[in-house]
Amino acid sequence: LTKIGLEIHSQLTKLESKLFCPCKANYREFEPNTNICPICMGLPGSLPRLNQKAVEKATMIAMELNCTTPEKIAFFRKNYFYPDLPKNFQITQLNIYGDTSVGGKGIVMVGEKKIRITRIQLEEDPGRLIYEGNSEKNLVTLVDYNRAGTPLVEIVTEPDFENPKEVREFLNILSSLLENLGVSDPSLEGAMRADANVSIEGGNKVEIKNIGSFHDLEKAVHFEITRQQSLHSRDIPIIQETRHWDDKRKITISSRSKEEDLDYRYFLEGDIPWIRIGNKVKEKLKSEMPESISSKKQRYVSKYNIPVQVADVLSSDKFYSDLFEEAHTKENAKEVANIITTDLMGLVDTREKRESSKLTSSHLKDIADSIQSGKIARNSAKNALNEIVKNGKKLSDIISELDLGNVSDELELSKIIESVISEEPQAVEQAKSNPQTINYLVGKVMQKTKGKADPKLTLDLLKNKIL
């Protein structure tokens, strides 16, 4: 039986400031060591100043993962020396002296499977180390403290996963959930990192550290299971150890470090008083939380009759569901959902594409309404969408510029139909005896009009002329 447990670190990238100082939580746009202050640099005499918003957001995550949330939370110091740690201790949370972390035990459903959450803790991210030199021998280590003090949530699971696929499904659910809460942007580089514990039947637990993305996490777990199975099949014992994920070579490497022997001398951080999160506060936070993904999905299905699979895709991606929420009316909801999940998805499938996209929800509404009123064919709508994503022009302008409007003028359409009838005598005869085959002729009309003929009108006119 394979057992996999995860420790996921997610930065709260949507917060304005760091966990204990006013520096920016989004450190990514700064020159090295310019997003720093006496507090996040741990200068002598500085004190942490707890960002209340971070506590609120972390509590929301705990509630969303169905975790218990204690009345009072506390912070602890984890003491160890490392150059990325300005104070040589990390302010974090701990549950060994009672449940004092933002989140206690919880449950996440992955399909039919229950994944148990052990705890959720709020902590500060260290700085970033940049190694210059080759991988055999690092000549210089550079330190950038811009990231030091960024709010980080650590989500620890029980070893409830049995294969990499379950891990991937869980990660998808988790990142959608964090994004939906508006606390984190999982697609940002380094925003999501993880450690994994992997053991196979009859073997010891191996911890894999330093996995820099969710994508690599699945790979690392897969690699590690295969490695352990191959050892096992050759009767080589699997030793309990810590391994590092080498993201260049895509393998795990024994870290030979003494990390597991470290004694962190945890004790209460006296500079941050205990924080009470009473029922009133919890109620308030609950009321401020955005609608959950599952509730959105349910609403899409029951209220708008959107197919379950479409509702699933739509609700689990905040970018799409936000667009949908703004663009849809009671009448066009199905159409909007359809456009997003069939046509738009291919156009904005990366973070870069989403950022450069000029599409707004009102564009989307216009397109759906135009399809429904017969102003534009689905096919043309797809072309229009492509243009709008690129240049953000108004739909009406694009229709006239690219001549995408439906041919719904009866006279004009009749002329085209006449010419198709004269070009396809055989098909006309066939249609007379078997009305089902008339669709072939509709197709021909579409071809001639480049898909712009109003399908319903075309069919009516054809029927009138032939039958």
Binding site: G45, L47, P83, P86, F89, R265, F267, G270, I272
Partner: protein, 481 residues
């Protein structure tokens, strides 16, 4: 020009035009030049002090709004950050550390037009009670320069006592304001934990320490508290005192107040002259209408052990940041592997700090925490319960500040355990967060004795009123300087 005046007298004299801030500060700097070679209170001086005083005189003359300190010369313990000024903690480890920001107390005093004449000596990182552990040499007691001035805020007490400033800010982790105040015959006051912001105070044991004033009079201590107390967004542990005026009604008296005499603080090892001074203080307070009664707080017998366990644990963590990578002293990092570098870099700590670092690595470690650190926390919480119970019955508690007289320089330095016992009467207020004050009360064989009063949390006003009443009962000889 009389350098011996109180802070309040100074502000009155400057405001009335009796004296100028410039003259007074210049005379103060002259006094430092004259006596500090002998006393060694100062680690660094502010060479712009006189210019700053002149600016204040100008402001007064032109009728501009002026802060409450009106150019008062104040010394600052060298573990409190003043922007663009060396802040060494009397350690070689921070030999070149120039603070890039002001501590909150400095910001507040600056706004009130105080003048910081210089940074004063302490035991390295405030660990000690004699200043003998300063990496820059000990300060001397102005009452007798063969004797220690107490510590760790020894430089603060010496500078106030020897008229090198009018008031000083120190920090009190286990008695570090009260102990030198007692040894040098000044007032030394540790406010309720959280009443004064610690932002910019270089942490030693952050969960129990407070910045506090050392002054000539109790009134001056109240005046200083008015200026430095209150909520600070930069220190989450600060509490709101609603801008209480601690000077107002300071002469309220102590009639009808109940005072507990802490039995454990006048017990074994107490110097007979200290005991008789304490008895005299009690009878004087009774004479003013207070009722005094003995009380036992038996957790006190474990308090010093608990204190050293907790402070070593916190110090081990607080001082971990001194790896010399970002600031510190001149020792380039290039060419070293990280662990070997910090091991070398951290050799710059002096013997007492090193001792406490080692202790701090041990007592909270896995496998030992249960026997030491967690036990110490238990003592702390039991002591808290006992003292809170005591305050249900009493308004104030009394003891000598230190059970012994000042000792000679070098006399106890090789006996850390003997030094630890000097703390027995002061650590309780830190472990419980209570306000406590040491008031000069007697001189025995030319050496000062201070009396300590302790009040309940946030009863600082009552504490100051009581200390004021006690102060009014004594007339002490002048320091022989």
């Amino acid at each position: 020009l009389n350098l011996k005046i109180s802070a309040l007298q100074f502000t009155r004299d400057v405001k009335s035009g009796n004296i100028s801030a410039e003259d007074f500060v210049a005379k103060t700097m002259e006094q430092i030049q004259n006596v500090d070679d002998k006393l060694h209170a100062f680690l660094s001086l502010n060479d712009k002090a006189i210019d700053q005083a002149r600016e204040i005189d100008k402001k007064i003359k032109s009728g501009q709004k002026i802060g409450q300190c009106v150019g008062m010369p104040i010394s600052i313990k060298d573990n409190i950050c003043i922007k663009d000024t060396k802040t060494t903690c009397a350690s070689k480890m921070l030999e070149n550390f120039i603070a890039p920001y002001d501590a909150t107390v400095i910001t507040k005093l600056r706004q009130e037009d105080a003048i910081f004449v210089g940074k004063v000596n302490l035991d390295e990182f405030a660990m000690g009670l004699s200043t003998e552990f300063s990496a820059y040499g000990p300060s001397k007691n102005p009452w007798n320069t063969d004797y220690v001035p107490g510590g760790s805020s020894g430089g603060s007490a010496v500078s106030v006592s020897a008229f090198e400033c009018i008031a000083s800010l120190g920090s009190d982790t286990g008695g570090s304001v009260r102990n030198p105040a007692s040894f040098c015959s000044t007032v030394g006051y540790k406010p309720t934990y959280g009443l004064v912001s610690r932002y910019g105070l270089i942490s030693y044991a952050n969960s129990i320490e407070q910045i506090g004033p050392l002054t000539r009079t109790v009134e001056d201590a109240a005046f200083m508290l008015n200026l430095i107390s209150g909520l600070d967004p930069n220190d989450d542990t600060t509490v709101d005192n609603n801008n209480k005026d601690y000077l107002k009604d300071i002469n309220f008296g102590i009639e009808g107040k109940k005072i507990g005499i802490i039995k454990e603080m006048i017990g074994e090892g107490i110097d007979p002259s200290v005991l008789s001074a304490t008895k005299e203080a009690i009878s004087k307070l009774e004479g003013l209408g207070a009722t005094c009664e003995e009380i036992s707080l038996d957790m006190i017998k474990y308090s010093v052990a608990a204190y050293y366990t907790i402070t070593a644990t916190e110090a081990g963590s607080n001082l971990a940041r001194y790896d010399n990578l970002r600031y510190g002293y001149n020792f380039p990092v290039e060419g070293y592997e990280f662990n070997s570098y910090i091991e070398k870099a951290r050799k710059k700590f002096g013997p007492e700090v090193t001792r406490r670092m080692i202790l701090g690595g041990f007592v909270p470690s896995a496998g030992h925490a249960g026997k030491y650190f967690l036990k110490a926390l238990k003592v702390k919480s039991k002591l808290n319960r006992q003292i809170n119970d005591a305050f249900k019955k009493f308004d104030l508690l009394i003891s000598p500040t230190v059970p012994i007289l000042p000792f000679k320089i070098g006399e106890k330095i090789n006996d850390p355990v003997a030094l630890f016992l000097v703390d027995i009467n002061t650590v309780t207020a830190n472990l419980t967060g209570k306000p406590a004050i040491s008031t000069p009360f007697a001189i025995s064989n030319g050496l000062p004795i201070g009396i300590q009063l302790i009040a309940n949390s946030m009863d600082d006003k009552l504490l100051l009123q009581a200390a004021y009443a006690l102060e009014k009962t004594v007339k002490l000889p002048e320091v022989p300087i």
